[in-house]
Symmetry: D2
């Protein structure tokens, strides 16, 4: 009932508030024997960490993670893996007004309705800070998928407000602070963000994530299709308002002859499906895109109400990302890794007996723009 667990076979349960003492999670179901060190997790956490450029929040959190269980002599043991990150930069500022006001488009109003009480400091549980634990847990999944199955997960920014980006170099996306897969567009992005910050406004973004090398067969129809669970995972990221698989909303305007990915002994001829047919991976790259709304924390005043229902004006000062999409790539990659890992375990639970023999035409294929 409680909604803080993701996955069924490979599960991640998180806890922690933005300004509480710590964030943590328990990863349960990890296969034993995987080599795992703190560095494996820290590397991914550092990618998500704020403060790496002037375009993200200036909150300083080292996000130093500890592994508290489930690893012995450098290897996973099959028992639950406890992870912990202590919060260090919770500013003891005056939250007086925010405490009694509902910031527009934030979760203040709905948490108050649901629970009758809320930790208002920095958004409490609804803060995107919670996603640090997803990234840490996702790093475990990612390592397993890479080492045991050869699955490569990557992604980047494919739109920032009005700026559409055609991916040309996914490797480049790993080395710039925008996670932009076209390095020629970086100056444009910087300029846009500088103007936006001056304006005091925020902007939406689109992120695309990809998994190459996924074996065919992952996904549990009819409800827990791979794409359905991926939609669940991706939509559960803070600020996400839309999820697409493959052609996504473009398929509304497609004819059957355009959309259907024809097959040949040499492979699929296209990948409109985004690597999923009937809810099951086809062996082609899994491709998913998400829409992230603009941050609602603005220094431009917004109309709202307080807890008593009186009108008020809200101005959000403090440290905020003007485009939450910029740091979202590692989070979306982590959710993709968690979904694939969970489905790999679920798949082999039922189907480990299946004798291979069906031609595997999709596996070698790589992402095509």
């Amino acid at each position: 009932m409680s909604g803080n667990t993701f996955g069924k076979s490979f599960t991640v349960t998180t806890f922690g508030e933005s300004h509480g003492p710590a964030l943590g999670c328990i990863v349960d179901g990890c296969p034993p024997g995987l080599e795992l060190t703190v560095e494996d997790l820290q590397g991914e956490l550092d990618r998500r960490r704020p403060g790496t450029s002037r375009h993200t929040t200036q909150r300083q959190e080292p996000d130093t993670v500890r592994i508290l269980s489930g690893v012995f002599e450098g290897k996973t043991t099959g028992t639950p893996i406890g992870l912990l990150i202590e919060n260090v930069d919770q500013k003891s500022k005056d939250y007086g007004k925010i405490k009694d006001q509902f910031r527009p488009a934030h979760a203040d109003y709905t948490y108050q309705h649901k629970y009758g009480i809320r930790d208002h400091r920095g958004g409490g549980r609804s803060s995107a800070r919670e996603t640090a634990m997803r990234v840490a847990a996702g790093a475990i999944a990612r390592k397993y998928l890479q080492e045991r199955l050869g699955i490569r997960i990557f992604g980047g920014l494919t739109a920032l407000g009005p700026i559409e980006i055609q991916p040309v170099d996914w490797e480049a996306a790993k080395t710039n602070p925008f996670f932009c897969p076209d390095p020629s567009r970086l100056q444009e992005l910087e300029d846009y963000m500088d103007a936006l910050r001056k304006e005091g406004n925020s902007i939406g973004a689109r992120i695309t994530v990809i998994a190459e090398g996924v074996p065919p067969g992952l996904g549990e129809p009819v409800f827990d299709r791979l794409d359905a669970d991926l939609a669940h995972g991706l939509m559960s990221i803070n600020a996400v308002k839309g999820v697409e698989i493959g052609a996504g909303f473009a398929s509304v305007g497609q004819k059957g002859t355009e959309h259907r990915d024809e097959m040949s002994p040499e492979g699929f001829r296209s990948n409109q499906a985004g690597g999923v047919l009937g809810g099951i991976s086809s062996g082609q790259p899994i491709i998913a895109s998400i829409a992230l709304k603009p941050t609602s924390s603005l220094r431009l005043p917004g109309q709202s109400i307080d807890k008593e229902g009186n009108a008020c004006e809200v101005i959000t000062t403090g440290r905020h990302d003007p485009c939450v999409g910029i740091r979202a790539t590692p989070i979306a990659e982590a959710m993709l890794a968690l979904v694939l890992m969970d489905h790999w375990l679920r798949h082999r639970a039922q189907n480990a007996d299946v004798v291979p023999g069906t031609p595997d035409i999709g596996r070698g294929s790589t992402w095509r723009p």
Copy 2:
């Protein structure tokens, strides 16, 4: 692990293949005391039923449903509700070729990989025929939500291929075979479909569904947010490739000042959020849209491979919907009902003690285009 159950508190588990003896489901967790008759279910099933116009498959299935348990003297008893629909129009045609070929963009290839065996007749388990049980189960949820909470669920076609439809009359969507919320566009739709059928091709569509009167507080952060579970449910419908909540992908291009729904004592000033903030319902209408791909069953030949990996050409004759989106509205409405019902029960499990007191500014609001 097994993926044929939807929901956690109000669960639906379905079974059945397109050409097997029957389809069925078990609805578990329904509150006792709800008046329920077969007619309540049959009405919704008839909306989804094929053969109501020349624009859908000509397979004739009365979809007559039986209630086998969980209802006593006209009321639900709190015990599981077993539902059954016998298949009557499975044509005993020759499936020879289809048996050994993989139809492009169908689940043939992936089911074969996953299970090593598949019921090829009419797509077997991967057929959209399975959604009949979702509609039947959804009708129970819908009745409860309407009677006990005053929630109204409706929806319709908002795009068919290149034809964009601005909803002007959701009531009208209930009375035309396209579920089109603008009756002035019906002739255009008919003409488009007639031309398409002549061409032998198929087309994608977009469906929008709405729930009005949803109380604030539904949704379980951080993973089982209302929008995340809705994305899960909607993406699990056959042919769906994208899901949007509220502004959806339009939010990529929005600034914070555009997207954030300001609040006043009289209500929210807009509904870009689609009724969900921080994964919890705000009391505003829930608005979700889905993209449905064009049917892959075409009489225009497509290139593929057979089970041995040899190239082959596939032509799909038989009875198929040229636009699966046309009949998808009742299915999407059913999934929305199931998600809301499940979350209502989950919410009150944890929060039945909460003393109301927060101003409820969203509840009375109705859908605005």
Copy 3:
């Protein structure tokens, strides 16, 4: 939330009331490729069926089961298996009094409290008739376990009231109506039951079930230990009031040197543990015993209250088992099969990568009294 599903990887969801139109279940997660016919299920159902001797209820139910999905050309396909048994012998007798009275030690009172409504006919959902579906589903698990893993499941009556039975021949338990593993005691059992029936009373019983050939490694500590899930499954059978694994309550009086099963290269030297160490199967036979209370449906009058809280006297006429334990062996075996099957799938989900190498000293061992 809803409690009508058993298992996590291999799940069984049942529905149906004693006097409703039908009983049914959905088995989800069955591996594909298992040969399965109606006869496989019917054989087990016939063992549980009433009316096979004068010592059980005289209700005549053929319990004819239909497979509605999930099996194609004689093999499971990996999709959910729908099973259905129509009720045929619901007597349309006058339930007038029972309708408004709470029979002592029955679920009438608690169902009324919980749901505010109940199907009083024959106990409704609380009738042991529901266990027919467990036996049907268990037969699928059993077949898989036998064919793929060589696991043999059997059991029988080890006490009927004051009559203690030392198992000497488990094969014999399969061929007598008491499921008694010592054929020399049959006359004694018959005489006891004849006297009891004349008296109008009922009696408790103990059943012991065993699984031989279980591989080491099944069970998921710390909460879903094999013995804990077995206790869950066995305690969920109607009338069960106690569950023991191995030495069970005898271990209260044992010293460590008596209880600990010493090991040698040739095998374990005893099996006080009942085949489970730390919640994980050891390879030795799994041994579990259950206590079943005497039937509460008696023609000897009992004091009770009616729905208005008035005192009343209840006499239960009609058709009832004077010792529900007699027919419980196939049910307990079915639950054991379901638990093992579920844990086999769960185990291999996480641990399919584990390289064998640990000496397997328990596997070949057989049950020792």
Copy 4:
């Protein structure tokens, strides 16, 4: 799949090894608004803590717990509660032999089979040290049940080896180190334990736990009956080999007229059922007993094998409880609290609409020996 979560609505997920850096858990689903401090948890932890008498292990662990999330300004917020206990007394002794040997009746052998790797230090994950987190989590449930529903949970030792104890004073059980509900037997217990320790042996025990004031209606038939979930929870405690509800195994020898609890307007006339009818609480006290096996860690040598399958002799030195049953009362109480809490939430999810009206004759009743 993973087995480290207990409960469905009120869930507890634990992590941690005996000699790792820390133990922890996440409690998810706790209703908001409950006053909660570290002291509420610490009090229960201190009851379970070793070293309070010479009859338990001499390992010194303060078991100081921290609340890391889910509590704000002294009240629960409805978000997940993270708890942490750092291990402080892990002796860095030489584990050389134990590392390669399988201690008889321990989980060494089965963990090695299951995972192919194990943390051998102090039993790793299979150590009863894990139960500290159950006690901490149970304290939260207990507080809610007591404050909101008036449920009182208590228990004690009802047998230690050959010494049978008739409970005469449950309050006394709270104040002596044996949790013995008959203070006149304390000297006898001390003497028995002193002799046992001298002998180098260990002994089994029986614990009985009771919940008074439980409202009627808790339990989810047919599989998640209250007694079935209680059996699951209790059997998942280390060393437990049997679970009884009410009359338990004594019901094997009972006649129907003895076992059935007759009812009158003034109340139930007995409580053979142990407060559960048809898997649902009746309002009478819930009574459950468990059998705990003798500790297997003995300084008396035992025969075993090593990882290569060679015969060896095992002597367990170190710090161990000669009777694990002595400290088991707080653990069993915690599991009872967790089960009741979970079922309270599950019950009201489905049945919050039910209009009361059925006479409640059991609620006021207290435990009777």
